[in-house]
Structures are given as structure tokens and as C-alpha cells.
Amino acid sequence: MGSRLALDDGVYLRNSVQTAAKILVVGHFAVGKTTFIGTMSEIPPLRTEEVMTQAGAGIDDPKGAPDKTTTTVAMDFGRLTLSEKLVLYLFGTPGQQRFVQVWEDMTRGALGALVLVDPQRLDESFPVMDLVEHYGIPYAIAVNRFDGTPSHSLDEIREALDLLPETPVVHCDARDQRSSADSLITLVRYLQSRVN
């Protein structure tokens, strides 16, 4: 108590905002989720923590400590006010199977997901793609560019990831706002095509 918590005006949403929408930014560890969110967010990205119990038996997690029953999962997120009435939240979501409880909450009401992949570590994207598909979240693939990595053609990546023909695949530099925005626009266009 005592310390003032009310924050600067810029922290708050405009009073006219009526609707909040959510897009997930998913991918394996260190693929660039936090960078992407920081690039796109109008506020300094925030972090939430969720305390959860370990997922049940049958989940293969060789690195997990067998005697540990609770885990803290941190999620980064950012905000984009898109009109007088609409705000979009971008949530970075960890891709590990054992975080299924977090996924229940994250996927509720999500418009879709942008799956960030590292062309050098494509196989690490399979678990997160399985999760996205399991929850029925439509997604697009954004191939994050890393310095010094040889460029792969999008067709090669599409084939390696075994994607449906309609799933969009784009290059993306998570440090670049224009490039990141373009990948979001690609995702939303795809989401539209599914509704129409």
C-alpha cells in the first residue's frame, strides 16, 4: 500500500475501445516471439506469469523434473490499438506440450496464430504446430530471418513442415516493424478467406 499504482495515460486504452481481439505468436524457445511482440507493441511488452501444476502422465518430457508438481510459465504480450473501437493483443505462447493448461486459456477467443519458425531448426516447430492444430487455431507460418543463416525457399520450408496448400508461409524479420506487420496482415487475410 502507499505506492501509487495508477499509471501514465498512455498505458490505458482509449475509452472508446469496445472490442479486444487476440492473436497468438507461437514458436519454440528462442525463435523470436518476444522480439516480434516488442517490435509490434505500442506499450512496453508486459509479462504475465501463471502458476500451473505439471501436466499429467503420458506427456513425454525428458527434461522435466519428475518430482516437481508446479511450474511457473511466463508469457510476453503486447498491445496494438487498431481503431477507435478495437484493440489487438499479441500473446507469445510457449510451445511445450507440458504447458497445455496455459494453452486452454490462451487459445480461448484467439483469432489465429502466427507460428514463428527458425529455418535452421524446423524440427523444433513440430510440437507447437501439433498444439495449434489440436486446438483448431488457424495459423500462418512466418520464417524468422536470423543473421548469417542461409536462406531457404518458402517452398522448401512448406514441404519440410508438411503444410496444407492453403497455409500461408512468409519470410519475416521479427526486428523489423514493417516486415512483422506484413506477416500479421498475411495471417489476417488468410483468416478472412476461411470465413468467407
Binding site: 500500500m1 501509487r4 499504482l5 495508477a6 499509471l7 495515460d9 498505458v11 490505458y12 486504452l13 482509449r14 475509452n15 475501445v17 469496445q18 472490442t19 479486444a20 481481439a21 487476440k22 506499450i43 508486459l46 509479462r47 504475465t48 506469469e49 501463471e50 502458476v51 504480450f77 498491445r79 496494438l80 487498431l82 481503431s83 473501437k85 478495437l86 484493440v87 489487438l88 493483443y89 500473446f91 486459456d105 490462451m106 487459445t107 480461448r108 477467443g109 484467439a110 483469432l111 489465429g112 483448431g136 487455431i137 488457424p138 516493424q177 514493417r178 506487420a181 506484413d182 500479421l184 496482415i185 489476417v188 487475410r189 483468416l191 478472412q192 470465413v195 468467407n196
Partner: protein, 126 residues
């Protein structure tokens, strides 16, 4: 007084129901009715209630500046999301906070919201 975890809200007095009207009549029986992107703020005229816990006072003060999502409240207060949902649910039930309803599940997203998102992204970054 009713304990915080009392689930029988349907039978509460009428004035306690008022905050829920703004969420289109949905019941807010517990924190699970608040999603990460539910937007909340304080009522202009706070109800007279028993003294609030320090955590709730902190949360009310944070929310006094305007609308924030449940996730943002968790981020600013550094409280776990699950705790924030329960505190927000309590404060809404007591008439301190009210919310704007989040959009429904992905299957029900209408094309209007997608169109607004696309137009917004293009206007801002196009």
C-alpha cells in the same frame, strides 16, 4: 457476509447483479468468466463496502486510470493471471469494476472483426 468463494450468486440482491448487465447478461460466477483480454475499469461511483484488502485496493487504483485488459493488470501488478481473475471477479461482483465483453470463441468470430483488424493493420503499417 458472503465468503469470497461463495458460488450461489444467482440469489444475491439485485444491486449486485447490475455490473453484469454491461457484459451482455452473462453470469460472472467466478474468475474463469474473465479472459486474458477482458477489458475492465472502475465504476465512476464506487459502492460503499467493507474495507477492501490491500491487493484489491492496489488493483482498483491501477484500474482507476482507464480500461486495461486482465492480462495487463497481471503484468503491471506482477500477480499471477489466475489470482487477478479472481480479484477482478470479486471486485466486479461487489460493484467496483465493470467489464466490456470479450469477443466469443474463434469459431464465432465474425468477418467484421477480421476486417477491422486488417484495416487497422493496413492503416497503421501499410
Amino acid at each position: 457476509m458472503t465468503p469470497d468463494d461463495e458460488p450461489e450468486l444467482e440469489h444475491e440482491a439485485a444491486e449486485l447483479v447490475r455490473p453484469y448487465v454491461i457484459t451482455n447478461g452473462r453470469d460472472l460466477l467466478d474468475g474463469s468468466e474473465f479472459s486474458l483480454i477482458t477489458l475492465v475499469t472502475v465504476h465512476a461511483e464506487p459502492p460503499r463496502t467493507k474495507p477492501l484488502d490491500p491487493e484489491k485496493l492496489r488493483l482498483l487504483e491501477l484500474c482507476s486510470g482507464g480500461f486495461l485488459s486482465v492480462a495487463e493488470i497481471a503484468g503491471h501488478t506482477r500477480l499471477p493471471v489466475g489470482v487477478v481473475k479472481i480479484l477482478v471477479a470479486d471486485l466486479a461482483r461487489e460493484g467496483h469494476l465493470y467489464s466490456r465483453a470479450p469477443i466469443p470463441s474463434a469459431q464465432l468470430v465474425d468477418r467484421k472483426i477480421l476486417e477491422e483488424v486488417l484495416n487497422g493493420l493496413q492503416a497503421r503499417f501499410g
